[in-house]
């Protein structure tokens, strides 16, 4: 039981290692990967059942790693990490399903490693360990984009790498400073979150240290101004990579702010709040407008995803129970929806060899089932009532109105804009005349339906019955908020 | 005869050696300049030894003479080798080791 977290992290990794040592053929590798991912999913489900929503950090596992510097192998899980963990482990088998005919073995290895990296980053409670996994998950993405991506992939991959590494390096600096300050105060080296959260800075230094962290996460999200890597990378990624990027990795930025920012720098973040809210608001609207102008489906949804992540960030910084609940809820629903939509875009590409909106058209007549799913996912991205997105967005908007009425209005505009680009896109792709590219557009196969159905069902459930999930989320949020408010008297 | 004179002299020698290395392109002169620098140090050591009245400085100087000889052997071998390859003693002619243009 106490090894369960390690198992979740390392099963994919060792699967990859084993497979590479045994030099398996791709079909065996596929089987092995799927089995491992299903095992992991099972473990995570088991974990979720065992998890106590009121219990704070659980399943903690601590082993000394580098004693001299107090670095330890320190894992634990709480609601925030569990949510992301669930998403990852759910998405992975689906992605493997998508990759069924993928015979390039490196693809599979990278996916396995990616899963390890992401779960590790989500679960680690030691900063250095977190940094390790944070970087480790970058590498497979880098290689997947650079090796298996589309046009201009090398450049885009390098751009992604460099931008995110820039953030990582600044984070490293802050981590080092945090660790050293802890040492200076207490005389003991430690990098675990609990002990570091006790460190208190002078405001001036705290701004710098917090900036280090924030830069890393903001680039990862990405907020406007730090987003130049986003569209090219989304554009040239292969489908599984883009799913992971938008559904999971972007959320990890939010996770980082939530986990570290609100643990170490509650007070400092109050200074940042206006700025970040401004940035996020700009992003919210800017991304949405840009999305309208895009001609490539993937780029469009990349910007849409950026817009929604800005919304999540907004929710985070409004810092009341509605907005936080909304943010966390939106993490789940957006992950599901964007995974779905990007997978479908991948399917479109497989069929039509293009994702240009203008050259598509009339899919609805050719493949009605496909059109149905596509419409559903697109609408849930837009946050149409009945999908999970709507609930989440509503919660955030309520939070925004509680924060400031003007900001609330601005925030609410996102729904309109999202509707706008989604419907326009749908109109152009699904209806209209059948283009050259969509002439032989086949409908969804069984495998694809199996792949998409869980996402669709979950989205429906989250949209129709949020009360199933809110109790799961709510305790953690209220506890955390309470502790923050205790510390600084409210944001 | 006061120590300062010797100090001036060895400083001067060392500087001249340095100037020679910096300003000349003839490899052989560069080599001689390095020898001169080491010899200047030798003079300084012997002066210190004489001031100290202990033989330590002289012994170091003796060891240094041997080191000078060792360096000389390597240097001369190098000069022969360089001359063989380029038929010149001009150090500027040995400039193949640069970033090659258009290799990108």
């Amino acid at each position: 039981m106490e090894q369960i977290l390690s198992a979740i992290i390392f099963i994919p990794f060792f699967t990859a290692l084993l497979a590479s040592l045994l030099r398996l053929s791709y079909s065996n590798l596929r089987t092995l990967s799927i089995v491992s991912s299903i095992i992991v999913f099972g473990l995570v489900l088991f974990l979720a059942i065992q998890y106590d929503p009121h219990g704070g950090m659980q399943f903690i596992r601590t082993v000394d790693w580098i004693k001299n510097y107090g670095i330890s192998y320190h894992l634990g899980v709480d609601t925030l990490s569990l949510v992301l963990l669930l998403l990852v482990s759910l998405l992975m088998p689906l992605l493997y399903l998508y990759m069924w005919h993928e015979h390039r073995k490196g693809y599979w290895y990278n996916m396995l490693l990616l899963q390890s990296g992401i779960t590790g980053a989500v679960l680690s409670l030691d900063l250095i360990l977190f940094y390790l996994f944070w970087e480790m998950m970058l590498l497979p993405i880098f290689i997947m984009i650079g090796r298996y991506g589309n046009s201009n992939r090398q450049y885009n991959a390098t751009k992604l790498l460099l931008m995110t590494m820039l953030g990582s390096m600044s984070m490293l600096f802050s981590i080092l400073y945090l660790g050293y300050t802890h040492f200076e105060i207490s005389g003991i080296w430690s990098y675990s979150i609990e002990s570091l959260s006790l460190v208190i800075f002078s405001p001036f230094i705290a701004i710098w240290v917090a900036s280090g962290f924030l830069l890393a996460f903001i680039i990862k999200i990405p907020l406007v101004g730090f987003h130049t890597w986003m569209a090219p990378a989304y554009g040239s990624s292969p489908t599984p990579a883009v799913v992971i990027l938008s559904a999971i990795m972007a959320k990890l930025g939010v996770y980082g702010i939530w986990r570290f920012g609100f643990t170490f720098f509650e007070e400092t973040l109050t200074r940042y709040t206006p700025h970040i809210i401004t940035l996020a608001l700009i992003g919210l609207i800017y991304y949405a407008i840009i999305a309208i102008t895009q001609s490539s489906l993937r780029r469009m949804f990349a910007y849409a995803s950026g817009s929604h992540l800005s919304l999540i960030t907004l929710g985070l910084f409004f810092a009341n129970i509605y907005s936080w609940g909304g943010s966390l809820y939106f993490i789940i629903t957006h992950a599901l929806a964007s995974a779905g939509i990007f997978l479908m875009i991948g399917l479109i590409y497989k069929r039509a060899k293009t994702i240009n909106i203008d050259s598509l058209g009339g899919i609805a007549s050719q493949a009605p089932l496909f059109a149905l799913f596509f419409t559903f996912f697109a609408l849930s991205i837009a946050g149409v009532p009945g999908t999970g997105g709507f609930v989440a967005e509503l919660l955030i908007i309520i939070g925004a109105f509680k924060y400031n009425i003007l900001i609330g209005i601005a925030t609410a505009s996102t729904m309109l804009l999202a509707m706008l680009y989604t419907f326009w896109m749908l109109q152009r792709t699904l209806f209209g005349a059948v283009g050259v590219a969509t002439q032989n557009f086949t409908d969804l196969s069984k495998k694809e339906i199996i792949m998409l159905l869980p996402l669709a069902i979950l989205l429906l459930v989250t949209g129709i019955a949020p009360s199933l999930f809110i109790p799961f989320i709510e305790p953690w949020i209220s506890i955390t908020l309470e502790s923050i408010n205790q510390n600084i008297g409210g944001l | 005869m006061i120590p300062e004179q010797f100090f001036i002299l060895s400083t001067l020698l060392f500087s001249i050696g340095l100037i020679g290395i910096v300003s000349r392109r003839n490899i052989f002169v560069v080599y001689l300049s390095i020898e001169l620098m080491l010899s200047a140090v030798n003079l300084l050591l012997v002066t210190f030894s004489r001031l100290d009245q202990s033989m330590n400085g002289s012994v170091i100087a003796l060891l240094l003479i041997a080191i000078i000889a060792a360096e000389a052997s390597i240097f001369l071998a190098m000069i022969i080798q360089l001359y063989r390859s380029k038929r010149s003693l001009d150090s500027d002619k040995f400039s193949e080791l640069t970033q090659k243009k258009g290799q990108q």
Binding site: - | I16, I19, V22, F28, N42, M55, I65, S73, L76
Partner: protein, 183 residues
Amino acid sequence: MLENSIFAILSLFLVIGSLGMISFKHTIFSAFSFLIAMLALAGLFALLENSFLFLAQIMVSVGAVVVLGLMVIISLGSIEKNIPHEPYKFYWIFISTLLVTPLALLIYKALISLHAHFEETREGYGELKSMGERLFSEWVLPFEAVSVLLLSAMVGAIVIARKEKYFKKENYFDNHNQQEDNK
């Protein structure tokens, strides 16, 4: 008085020799100036009552270093056209003098801060015996190390200066590689 005049002459030779060394165009004249400088230096050692060093300096610096250097110059047959053409030599020398002067002044300033002066030498100072006693007691390790240094320098020099013939029958492909390397 005698000492002072000897010193004056020797230092004059030393400075002229070293200056000549860096300013002559022809390698051999540089070598000649160097020879003069080394002889004068040996003389200064004698003036500092280090008779053994005086001889060692002549033996090694002159008898070995300069001779070998001249040997190299002569066996290379340094013809006029192989001597580098240095039109801006004195210009460079002037500039580098400007660069080096601060360093020299710094070192000299530090040196005169010693405020030292010569005293009568002790019995046995500078003689071979006292030198040998020091060399083989306290300095025996560096001494032995120097012998290794000479050996390694010798091996290195032989390796560098030896002409190499690569064309061996048994590895033709090798040879191919080398030619590629040379490009």
